[in-house]
Each structure stands twice: as C-alpha cells, then as structure tokens.
C-alpha cells in the first residue's frame, strides 16, 4: 500500500520538472510524502490490530484462563505452567511412571513415581528435608464432592527422602544454597487404580521452593507447603485439567450417561433437525411467495415480515402455555400429555423463522424467470421446476440459511432453559453450561470447568465460520441483517 502511494507522487514531481533531476527541496518533499504514506499505512495497521485484539482479546484470554488452576487469579499470568513444554514432558514421564499411559496417567499397582524437589535455603538456616504427604483430598464442589472415587492415599507408600545435591547459589540478592531432595511414591499392590495422585510437601519457614519435577499447583502457608493436584497426570489431564473434569465429573446418577457428551449430542440433534426444517419450509415458502400467484400472497408476506418484528419475549408466555397443553391437546394424538421437557416441543416451536423465508424469497426473485419458463415449455410442473431447476440454483442461499440457523439454534439459550427443565440428560449444551456454573462457580468459585465448557461450546460455531465464511457474508448481504 505504501509503495503504491509513493509511486504515485513520483510522476507528479517529474511532470513539473521534466528534464531535470529533482532539486534537494523536491527530494525533501518526496521523502515527506513517502513518510506520510508510511505513517498512514502504519496507522491503519495499528488500528486494525487494536480492533482485532479488542474483539478477539476476551476470547483468547478466556481460552488461556481455561487452562489455569485458578482462572480468576490476580494478577493474571500469561504463562501458566500448564502451557510450558518442560511440564508436558514431566507430565508424560510421571504419567507412565504412575502406571498409566503418557497421555492419560493414573496411580495403578506397579507404580513407582520418582520425584525431585529443590529448595533455596538462605545462609544461616540449616536445610531441612521436606515432610512428604499423599493427602486424602476430597473435591470441594461438583459431583466429586458427593461421590468420591478411590483415594491414592490409601494405596501409596512414600520412600525415604534423600538429599541428592547441594550447591551454593544467590537468589534475588540473597546468598544461600540450593538443596535437592528425592523420593519415590510406590503403589502397595492392591488391585485398585486411583485416577490421581495428590501430593503435599512441607518445609520450615524461609526455606523457599525453587524447582521440582513438576511445577506445583499452589504454594501455601507463607511458602511452607507446596501442593500438587496430581503428580502422575499424563499430558492430557495435566494440560487440559479443567476440560477432563468437565467430561469426567458430569454423569447422570440415574442413567450413568456422560452428561456433557449427551448435551453436545442434544444440541447437535436439535440444531440439525431445525436446519433441515428451516431449509425445507423456507425454500418452499420463499419459492411460492416469489413465483406463484395466489390471492392473499402479499398479505401473507406482510404477515411473515410482521412476525419478525415481534420481540421473542412477548410471545414466550403464550408459547410456553401452548407447549404445556401440548398444542391445545393435539400432542395427545401421539401420546404426549405435554410438550414441555421434550425435543418435539422445542423443535415444533421453532420449525421455521421469518428471516429464513425472507432470504429465500429475495434470492428466488433474483433468479432469471427464463430458466423456469423454458422448463415449463419442456412440460415441467411447479413441483419439478422447484426440485430440478430452482433448488440446485439456490445453493448459496440455502447455505446461508443453514449456517445462520445452525448458529442461532446452537447458541439458543432462553427458550431451551424454560422448556427443557428435567431430567438433566434432556438439556442442550447452553443450559448444561449454566448447570456447570451452579455446580462449580456458585459453590466453590471454581470457574475452570465452566470456561472449558464454554470453549468447547464455541468450537463448532468457529469451525463452521471458518469453513463457510463466504456464506455468512452472503447471508448478511441478502438480508442486510445478521441472523
């Protein structure tokens, strides 16, 4: 961009003095113009960068936080230990040593987990070997608090703690020595596998933690205690700690089903069915409104437009009552007393939207009539024209409707919240996330699983956006509005 601009100034200068070399003054002018052009370009780029950071920033930050032990830590760190390759390697090794795989660790019979920790001891203090404990740590919130699994503490044997190295060092201007201790945690051989191996080390005050085989999850009691959630984690439970919790800790007591996967499945199912019904109904209605002549056509179209202008909140209560009574009792025909708490209800109450019809109608009106007329001359009726000629041509509009519908239904929250109240395996993902908020956030201010769940719920929409970007833009240009 900048090159093009400076290029444009050069011929001007040449036109004024065709025969001569540019004077020093003119060269100065050219340079100034070039500088201005660069400055403009730089400004544009900086502004774009600022805007993209502004819009993407919160999302990226939330994603980063979803990896942390304490997502709301203050001040926030940009380099949590979970994102350091050295810890990945350690997590892999420790996971294998614990008797699991490198990806998913465990504490199983035959486990022999070696561990090393280094402390900084200022001069004048006699180094002290840490007291090693494998605690019985019960989760404070979520399903784990009620139904704990096996405790590693019941099967762990800790070896003697040995000092392996001692060297003088200076840390933060204080001279002293670095002392390294090593120990091993063994499984006692009973045939029980614990899914994690928590660890606490305690030393005297002022003997400060320096480094360890795996970075600790927290340092407590004014530096005296270093505490690990799991010292045999494997890479995935270590890096994606909150993500594994979302999947592992949410299952239904009654059916035993994994709730989080069920919620994802429900959201896909409802979104998929609604996309189909939107495509079928909107394309047929749109075609009829665009091409067929029948009395009341304009009134019908106005009615559809009008339906787009009523805020959803206005019709929530009446829609709810209609579903409660099973659409005036109609649902009893197929054996449902009420349509509350059923996918049928949630799908029937949003078979098609006015905006989808509008997109399709506008698109069909832009198709040349000659295509259909020539088909009619060949003897095709409206149905054949619709399926053989018009639909294949309408692919861009159908794509736009499909994407906008999918995105809308996937993110839909309030209506599923009201209609699908029970049991938990009926929830959509958005309602399920709210449940996570209650289970972790509201009880123990433990926001990690919620952030992880929110990130997972954003993934399908992000993928669809990246793959079908073009249709999104077309969808917007068809309607002039989004959604």
């Amino acid at each position: 961009m900048a090159d093009a601009r400076t290029g444009a100034t050069a011929p001007q200068a040449a036109a004024v003095h065709p025969a001569s070399q540019p004077t020093p003054v003119e060269m100065e002018k050219q340079k100034a113009a070039a500088r201005r052009a660069w400055a403009r370009a730089a400004l544009v780029y900086v502004l774009l960068l600022v805007f993209s950071l502004f819009f993407m920033g919160p999302f990226l930050f939330a994603t980063l936080s979803s990896f942390k032990d304490d997502p709301i830590e203050w001040p926030p760190r940009l380099d949590p230990p979970q994102l350091k390759p050295a810890n990945w390697v350690a997590a892999w090794r420790l996971g294998k040593a614990g008797g699991g795989s490198g990806w998913f660790g465990a504490f199983a019979p035959g486990a022999e987990v070696p561990f090393e920790v280094t402390y900084f001891v200022p001069d004048g203090i006699e180094p002290q070997a840490p007291i090693v404990r494998v605690p019985r740590r019960l989760p404070g919130a979520g399903i784990g608090a009620v139904r704990p699994g096996a405790f590693a503490a019941d099967y762990a044997i800790v070896s003697e703690v040995v000092e392996t190295a001692r060297q003088p060092a200076e840390v933060a201007g204080v001279s002293g020595q670095l002392v390294t201790y090593a120990f091993t945690i063994r499984h006692n051989g009973e045939p029980v596998v614990a899914d994690r191996l928590p660890l606490d080390l305690e030393v005297q005050l002022r003997q400060t933690f320096y480094s360890a085989t795996l970075a600790p999850n927290r340092i407590e009691r004014l530096g005296r205690v270093q505490s690990w959630n799991n010292v045999a984690p494997g890479v995935i439970p270590y890096v994606f700690y909150n993500y594994t919790r979302v999947f592992q800790e949410n299952y239904s007591r009654t059916t035993g089903k994994n709730l989080f996967l069920t919620w994802i499945g429900n959201s896909f199912f409802i979104a998929g069915v609604k996309v189909l019904t939107h495509l079928i109904i909107a394309s047929m209605t749109g075609y009829a409104l665009a091409r067929l002549r029948f009395p009341g056509r304009n009134a019908l179209f106005m009615l559809i437009l009008f339906s787009m202008m009523i805020p959803g909140q206005v019709t929530f209560i009446s829609n709810y009552l209609v579903l409660r009574d099973g659409i005036f009792g109609l649902s009893k025909l197929w054996g449902q007393e009420t349509l509350l708490n059923s996918f049928t209800g949630i799908i029937l109450s949003g078979l098609c939207g006015g905006s989808a019809v509008f997109i399709m109608k506008q698109f069909f009106e832009s198709l040349p009539r000659e295509l259909e007329e020539s088909a009619r001359i060949d003897g095709a009726g409206p149905a054949t024209i619709y399926t053989r000629i018009v639909l294949p041509l309408a692919r861009p509009a159908l794509g736009a409707v499909a994407i906008l519908t999918f995105q809308g239904v996937w993110n839909e929250f309030f209506w599923p919240l009201i209609v699908l109240t029970t049991p938990q395996d009926k929830f959509t993902l958005t309602v399920g996330l709210l449940n996570l908020r209650q289970a972790y956030g509201a009880v123990a201010l433990d926001w990690g699983p919620l952030l992880a769940g929110a990130f997972i719920s954003a993934v399908p929409v992000i993928i669809i956006f990246l793959v079908f970007q073009r249709y999104f833009v077309e969808g917007i240009s068809f309607t002039g509005i989004k959604g």
Partner: protein
Amino acid sequence: MQCGRLGRFSRPFKASFVALIIAALVALPAAAQTTVRVSGWGGTDIAIVEELIERFVKPAVEPLGINVVYEPIADAYDTYIVNALSAGTAPDVFYVDIFWAEGLMRAGQLEPLNDYMAKSDVLKAEHIIPELLAAFTLDGKIYGIPKDFNTLALFYNKDLFDLAGVPYPDENDDWNTLADKLSRVAALGPDFYGLALQPEYARFGAFALATGWQPFDENGRTNLLDPRFVEAFKWYTGLVANRSGVHPQDVGQGWGGGALTTEQVAAAVEGAWILGFLRDSAPNMEYGAVPLPKHPGTGERGNIIFTVSWSINARSQVKEEAFKVLEALTSPEAQQWVLERGLALPSRAALVDNPYFAQPDREAQANLIVFKGASDGYVEPFKFLNYGGDWMAPINDALGAVLLGEMDADTALREAQQRMDALLAR
C-alpha cells in the same frame, strides 16, 4: 389461570372435533402408581438429592405405590418456581429459600404442614431446631421443613496469628478484644490485614443484631439511625482505619473466602459454605473457626440464619403422598448421611450429638460452630418481610461507600434511612 385437567376442554374454541379425539384419549386408564415430582436447584445439590432419593426416599415410599421423579432446575430457580406455580406446572415437593419464602407463604402457594405433622410419627415439630422452624412459620402455620442451614462464624488463618505472636480468636472475645488481636496481626506489615469486611448486610447484619437492634420494630419500620445500629456500623467500617479490616476488593478478591486464601487477611466472617471452597483452593491452610465476637454491652452475639426448606405445593393433587416423600427427605437417617459427608448441616436438633461433630478434623469443628450459631444470642433468619433484597440494598450501599472512603458514616446512614423509608412507604 385455571389448569384443572378437565377445565380446559370446556373452552369454546376447543370444542371442535379435536376435543373429541382428546377426550377419547384422556379416557385411557391412568397409571396405577402415583407420581410425586420433587424439585430443587442445580449444582452440587443434584448429586446430593439423587443420592438421598436412591438411598432413603425410594425404599421408604415405593412400597406405598409412590413413584418419585426428581427435576432439578439448572438456574434462576426462584424465578422458575414462581412461574411454574403460576402456570400450574410446579412440582409437588420443592425447595423454598427463606430469603423469598414469605411472598409464597402469604400468597397461599405453600401447603401448611401442621395437620400432616400432627399425624406423623417420623416428623414432629419438636425434632427440628426451633429457630429454623420459626423462620418458615407464619401466623402459627408451618410452611416448610428446613432441609439444612448455615449461620456465620469467624474463620481465621492460624499461621498469621502465629507469625504475629497473637493468641487465636476465641469464644470469649468481644468486639474490643477481637479488634485488638486483629490490629496486632495487621501490624506484621503493610501487606497484612485483619478482618475481611464485605459490604453486605448478610455479614455485617450479625454485628448489628448483637447490639440488640431489630430489623423491624413493632410498626414494621426499620430504624438505621438507632444508636445501636450506628454503633455496629461505625465499629465495622472503622476497622479499616488501621488495617484491622479490609474490603476484599483491596486484596483482589470478591468475598471473605477469597480474601483468606491470599494469606494476607487474618480472618473472615463466613458460613460453612467456605469449607468446600477452602478444600479446593487452599487445602493445606491451617484455619480455625470460632463464634462471632460478643457485643461488649449486651454480652451477646448476633447471627443470621440462612436456610432452605422442603415445602409442598398447595395445589398439588397428591399432597398426602408428597408429605411421605418430604418425611423421607428430612428423616434422621437422610440428614445424618448428609452430615457425615460434610455436605450440609442438618436441621434436626438431635444430631448435635452425632459423632461427626466430635472429630478432631477442622472441617467438623467449623461445622459444629456454625451449627451452634443458630441458637446462640440474637439470631434472625435471612428474610425481610416480603421486601427481599430491596431491603438490604440501602444498607449494602452505605457500607460500600464508607468502606471505600467515599462518604462518612453519618451521611451514609442518613441517606440509607431516607431510601429505606421510601421503600417501606411503597
């Protein structure tokens, strides 16, 4: 909003052929079992109630031909229950939080349980801690059986008191001796503070009550300019002066529990809900819990009871069966199971002798302090006639303004009283 099963077929616009078909379908034989729907909010409660139903409710009621269906609500439970009661879709047995219970009681949406309890052998009024039952009683009628409860206690970090060489807070402390201990811990350095002071009636209220002040006088009026209230207000907000107290925000936290985990704050006023949080966020913290300090003048403590009941829908079709379910949910065995797992505090007074409380474990000790808080000194339930959270807002705002140094205490209280008068005049 009439929702009788037959009532809706009489509406003229439905008197069509559809109605005929429906009428034919309605005539199908009804299920032999009675279904009782049970509802509460989501979160950890789901796992607890599922276990209770499997372990205690189903064995008790299934022989009676009662089928229990549990329907937890993910969020906005209070909104849900009010809407569902209006729409006629409400469950038969459900949670009622004391905070918004009064509106439902007065509207006649909850079934009075006196007659049922008179006939029951398992559930008698005298089994339940009287202060808790009183919270759900209106004009002599009992509208709910408390399922569990919480009160406030002083949680403190032993390490900080040790470091400062100050004796731990104890049950004999009054406001002055506690403030003295806190100021000596704060003297450790500029990064150390005494008590986490949340600008909320839900914490501060306990101190106001200790003076003998009452939220409402006999005319239903609230007097924030009462010298007793003013004294408590000035003591609480005055702690910030020498770092004996700190607004949790000043240590980057939103509440007392978070402030404790920074290890910069020596103590916080919280309920047993802090235990689960500490278990996850600071599993090794050496903390202790003691009753709130006494007011030096009255020699009494104040406290606030937070509680939730199981209540029965007044329009339920299966009230007798619903009461059987309620009995099983609040049975001694069920409450003991919940207590022994440290999940919640039971409402049955007899459980104070449970061996759980005698354990040397710090969580059990803290639970015992919170349990006893319900019957020690001037105790009020966390409810404000039917004003709900609106009643607390003027007090909370005044506390916040003074703690942040935006206003002096007298101005803030005068302003709060004006807002309170406007609210009560509505």
